[in-house]
């Protein structure tokens, strides 16, 4: 322990020998680690924001559907409905202390003159829907849906169809019995949620209007549940199943599985970039440490003659390299966190990419987020990287023969 402390003290002092070289190595490594902190914060922010968006506008914490609904690829969603929707919703809300609402999803078309778009018509109970979803209040213009008749459409759909508040498009759908049916409602508001499906492919009407369009009575095909914490969605499902529910339940995580998979792939791709950066940084640190060993060969010999153990000589260079990693890590944490904090406050505008179909449900700006794991991983990464990069130099320093080091100045 004592020898380790001596080695650490000497290593820290040795950093001052070649100040410019140390500064350059630390700067390079700091830059790399800052890139790592900011890049992962952007990825984390994107993921957080997207998941919030899914939960707020599409999946809630948990959704119940009629059996077979989720696996139905015929898009004949009105074949599968559950009745007594209101009473089922109220019973769950009362017994499990959760927020609930029901929705009726109808595949249909929005028709404006000769223009038509395939959309999903969503029937909602505005009052209850607001306790689970945030959709109805994300207005870009107009007013929100109340009990009076009208339709809310997304920003992108409105733009594509040339609709503004006050226009009266036709909602066209095949009803549950199979007959074609239509509703002509005024656009009372334009939604801007950032969620591509909501903004580009959905129209929201009151549940009553939707049931009238589908020719169903007191029926729905989605029961959405919002509990306390999104991480408890699985537990909530168990409770619901124990409660005797016959619905098929899907958690937010299952609903967003595709997105999570894509994000995981992006994280791997990012890690490859980070690994390349790490390799460059490792070469720089390794080079610095090997040069340090060469410059101090006689001194190494003298220290060995004075009675320093081989392992202590090795530790001297190992700690010197790790100190570079630690210094760079701390600087990167300070500057990286400051950059992330700033970006978190101002946001990164995606308006220029508005028309690009990214599939990520976020609004026109996104906000990097610094998770607690990010600084820990970055700092550990810096330390491990420099330890590995210094290992060769440390090994070379401790392996050398003292007589040759003193006499010939080589190890």
């Amino acid at each position: 322990m004592r020898n380790t402390l001596i080695a650490i003290r000497l290593a820290l002092r040795n950093l001052r020998r070649q100040k410019r070289r140390t500064a350059l190595t630390v700067s390079g490594l700091t830059m790399g680690l800052i890139v790592m902190i900011v890049a992962y914060a952007m990825l984390d922010g994107l993921t957080d924001q997207a998941l919030d968006s899914y939960i707020q506008y599409e999946t809630a914490h948990l959704r119940g559907f009629p059996q077979g609904y989720l696996n139905d690829d015929t898009f004949r969603t009105l074949d599968k409905l559950f009745g007594s929707a209101d009473s089922l919703r109220d019973a769950l809300a009362d017994e499990l202390d959760v927020q609930t609402t029901v929705r009726l999803h109808i595949p249909g078309q929005l028709i404006v003159g000769t223009e038509e778009a395939f959309i999903e018509i969503v029937g909602v109970d505005p009052e209850r829907d607001r306790t689970v979803y945030a959709t109805l209040d994300q207005l870009q213009s107009g007013e929100s849906l109340d009990h009076k008749g009208g339709v809310l459409i997304g920003r992108k759909l409105a733009k594509d169809m040339g609709l503004t508040v006050g226009d009266r498009p036709t909602l066209f759908a095949r009803s549950a019995p199979g007959a074609l049916n239509s509703l002509r409602l005024p656009v009372i508001g334009i939604l801007n949620t950032g969620h591509p499906a909501v903004d580009g492919q959905s129209a929201y009407v009151s549940l009553t209007d939707a049931q009238q369009l589908a020719l169903v009575n007191d029926s729905a095909n989605e029961l959405a549940v919002l509990g306390g914490n999104r991480k408890n969605a699985d537990k909530l499902r168990e409770q619901l199943n124990m409660h005797g529910s016959t619905l098929e339940w899907q958690t937010w995580e299952e609903a967003a599985a595709g997105f999570l998979y894509v994000m995981q792939f992006r994280r791997i791709a990012m890690s490859v970039v980070v690994a390349i950066l790490a390799l460059i940084a490792a070469v720089a640190v390794s080079n610095t440490m090997i040069m340090a060993v060469h410059e101090r060969t006689q001194e190494i010999g003298a220290l060995r003659a004075l009675g320093f153990e081989r392992s202590m000589i090795g530790r001297l260079f190992l700690f010197e390299g790790i100190s570079i990693g630690l210094l760079a890590g701390v600087l990167a944490l300070l500057f990286g966190s400051a950059i992330v904090l700033w970006l978190h406050n101002v946001g990164i505008s995606l308006e220029a990419y508005e028309d690009v179909q990214s599939g990520i449900p976020i609004n026109t700006s996104f906000y990097p987020s610094l998770h607690a794991s990010n600084p820990i991983i970055t700092l550990s990464f810096g330390l491990i990287l420099t330890a590995l990069a210094s290992w060769t130099a440390a090994y070379r320093a401790q392996r050398g023969e003292v007589v040759r080091a003193l006499r010939e100045g080589r190890l």
């Binding site: 004592r2 020898n3 001596i6 000497l10 002092r13 040795n14 001052r16 020998r17 006689q298 001194e299 010999g301 003298a302 220290l303 060995r304 003659a305 004075l306 009675g307 320093f308 153990e309 081989r310 202590m312 003292v402 007589v403 003193l406 006499r407």
Partner: protein, 224 residues
Amino acid sequence: MNSPVVQVHDVSKSYNQGRVKALRDVTLDIQPASFLALAGPSGSGKTTLLNMIGALDVPDQGEVTVAGQRLNDLSDKERTRLRRERIGFIFQQFNLVPVLTAAENVALPLEILPHISTQDRKKRAYEMLRRVGLEGMEDRNPTQLSGGQQQRIAVARALVKDPPIVLADEPTANLDGSTGMAIVDLMNEMRNELGVSFVFASHDPRLLERVDTVVEMVDGCVTR
């Protein structure tokens, strides 16, 4: 008479797969408080012999005993320990650690010895610097000092752990004449004060004039 602090018996050493014979059947005893020089031209084997005595190298044949320990029986670790505890070194290039102060350089050998408190280390280092005439320069870095002053620090560093023997390889080679002799005189004083043996490898005639014993070496053999 005390037993010799160093006993070299019939030692031979060769390098480059036996092509270069550095030492040939060397036998030598060094008494406590000696002031002895190994003299001879370059390549005569004086530094090799010094390295054998300093437990830095091992003989191909023969025996070396230092401070009662037979080096032939010691592992690399044990030889390191012997150097740490019982042998002081002074080098031609001084080999001070430039990022440490004069006092820290002197205290360095004590840092790796067990059971010496920080306060004691500091006290002993300051005392040794005073003895070698560097009082008031404890906090200076070696780079701020002259060659002679740096070699004085090296002498203090070699003596601070109270070794029975100090080995000095060409200690005056990097110093001007008067400074070099002042260093030799200083070491002689230390020998008299502390009873430590000094063994030099040198071909500096002024140094050779000042030592008690000169061991002449030619082609790896002791000739006188």
